[in-house]
């Protein structure tokens, strides 16, 4: 009767034998085992577990069949008391049935350790939900992993983010993690750069160096040299996050649509990697703004090639400068000296009272040359 019941649920003959031969079930009478089995199956069916889940759980830990439903409910309640939803708890059990066997004290100890290490309850729960096997990791191992990252130079919030994103790191030996970090070092990144990079790409700590480089291969395919890619990552490591890598192609495309060649796109984004973080709409909008202000398309391209920072500057900021400099007849000068549009307007305009003979281009001299010509220092100019 037990065999028939279990076959109805979907157990194979081998699975039935495994369960019947396991401890303590092998000492149970068939009728007792059938009773326990039916109880468990009914309970699990009522709580989102299907037959394949039940088979998986009971073949992983057959002794769950000998547990009373009350015992199982107590474990589940413990997690509910720590603010995990029932759905998530059931998912955790499906993924790692061993948590049902854990004592309440052991569960509470785990929460305590994470609290000790500064994790919020919400972060701790995220870690347990996404990697329930961590509940079985030795407490000293958890502390060691945390300390490993601290010793390397990660700050507390960086450690929390990394473990919350990739909780499986707790299951990886620190030797293996160290090896990954050394691989980044071998590529040419310094410690603080590695910390930044792995903060934005925590999965970089678990995948092979070759795979990381493969992920960046599409940048190489576009035309960036390896050194360019490394330079860009050092400046803007957040570019490694999925959010940005998935949108790189459309940004390259919009820059090409604006009129830059591929080589130009590589060049201007190398000089100002932040361009790769702006939305494509903003890139287009900022380019269009220069055209609206009276520059020809080719002039704008040359200005941005010369001064890539301009493509990210606040439109109002650019407007105020253009309005001011137009009055001095400097519009044409700016086309060929676009870096002038970077200089902060307040100070530049303070220089005008010192300029003689309408040599307004002198507004943009550096301080050393301005002092040579007009015998006045920055301090004096600011002081009025």
């Amino acid at each position: 009767m037990l065999d028939e019941y279990m076959k109805e649920i979907g157990y194979s003959t081998e699975q039935i034998e495994l369960i019947e031969d396991s401890y303590p079930l092998k000492s149970y009478a068939e009728s007792t085992l059938l009773y326990c089995m039916k109880n468990l199956v009914n309970y699990l069916h009522r709580n989102t577990f299907d037959n394949s889940d039940i088979i998986s759980i009971t073949t992983t830990i057959p002794q769950i069949i000998s547990m009373s439903i009350e015992e199982i409910k107590i474990k589940i309640t413990e997690f509910i008391d720590h603010s995990i939803s029932k759905i998530n708890i059931y998912q955790m059990i499906k993924e790692y049935p061993y948590i049902i066997e854990m004592s309440i004290q052991r569960i509470r100890n785990k929460y305590q350790i994470f609290e000790e290490l500064g994790f919020t309850l919400s972060s701790t729960n995220n870690i347990f939900i996404h990697c329930p096997s961590i509940l079985n990791v030795d407490p000293s191992s958890i502390r060691n992993h945390y300390q490993f990252f601290k010793d390397y130079g990660y700050k507390q919030d960086e450690i929390h983010t990394i473990f919350e994103t990739i909780p499986q790191l707790f299951l990886l030996s620190t030797t293996k993690i160290q090896k990954r970090l050394e691989e980044y070092s071998a590529i040419g990144f310094k410690k603080d750069e590695i910390v930044k990079i792995t903060y934005y790409l925590p999965e970089g700590l678990i995948i092979e160096k070759e795979e990381i480089m493969n992920r960046l291969k599409f940048m190489g395919d576009y035309g960036y040299q390896l050194n360019d890619i490394i330079t860009i990552i050092k400046s803007v490591p957040m570019i490694l996050s999925d959010y940005f890598t998935s949108s790189l192609e459309e940004k390259w495309l919009v820059l090409e649509e604006i009129g830059f060649s591929k080589d130009d796109v590589v060049s201007i984004t190398k000089q100002n990697p932040y361009l790769l973080l702006y939305s494509k709409e903003l890139l287009k909008d900022n380019y269009t703004h220069f055209v609206k202000r009276g520059f020809y398309h080719k002039e704008v391209l040359e200005m941005i090639k010369d001064t890539p920072l301009l493509l990210g500057f606040h439109k109002n900021n650019i407007d105020k400068k253009l309005d001011a400099y137009k009055d001095f007849g400097l519009f044409d000068y700016i086309k060929n000296h676009s870096s002038c549009l970077l200089y902060s307007l307040n100070y530049i305009l303070k220089r005008k009272k010192y300029i003689k003979n309408n040599e307004w281009e002198d507004l943009f001299l550096n301080d050393v040359d301005f002092h040579k010509k007009y015998k006045v220092t920055r301090k004096q100019i600011i002081g009025g």
Binding site: M238, Y278, L309, F313, H314, N316, N317, N366, D367
Partner: protein
Amino acid sequence: MDKLIRFGFSIDEINNMMNSNPEINDISDNDVSEIINILKGIDCSKDQIMNILVTNPFVLTGEITEIKKIIVKFLDFGIEDLAFLFDTNPFLLNINYKEIDSTIKRKTKMGESIDEIKDFFYYESSQMI
């Protein structure tokens, strides 16, 4: 985002900043106030603050201690017009403060004077991004 709106940023500008730096979604008005106060503390005008934050929205989620280290490094070197400095190149607020020392050392070795190095920071620092 109330603080940003009350400061004068448009919804479009805030959206653009969030697009570039999604972490802005998680910061509080207190965080925003702290950054704005630091910029006000170095005599940035409202226009300059808006330019800095729109051009470089990563300042809003930057580590305050790191930003202060950058400011102190420049002040120690004798760069007093920090408002000009960061308005001209808002990305200087993201660099590792140690890069300032290494740039000064490198240029000093090349024979540049203090004033010439200051000029580099004021007028050519886009090379440091």
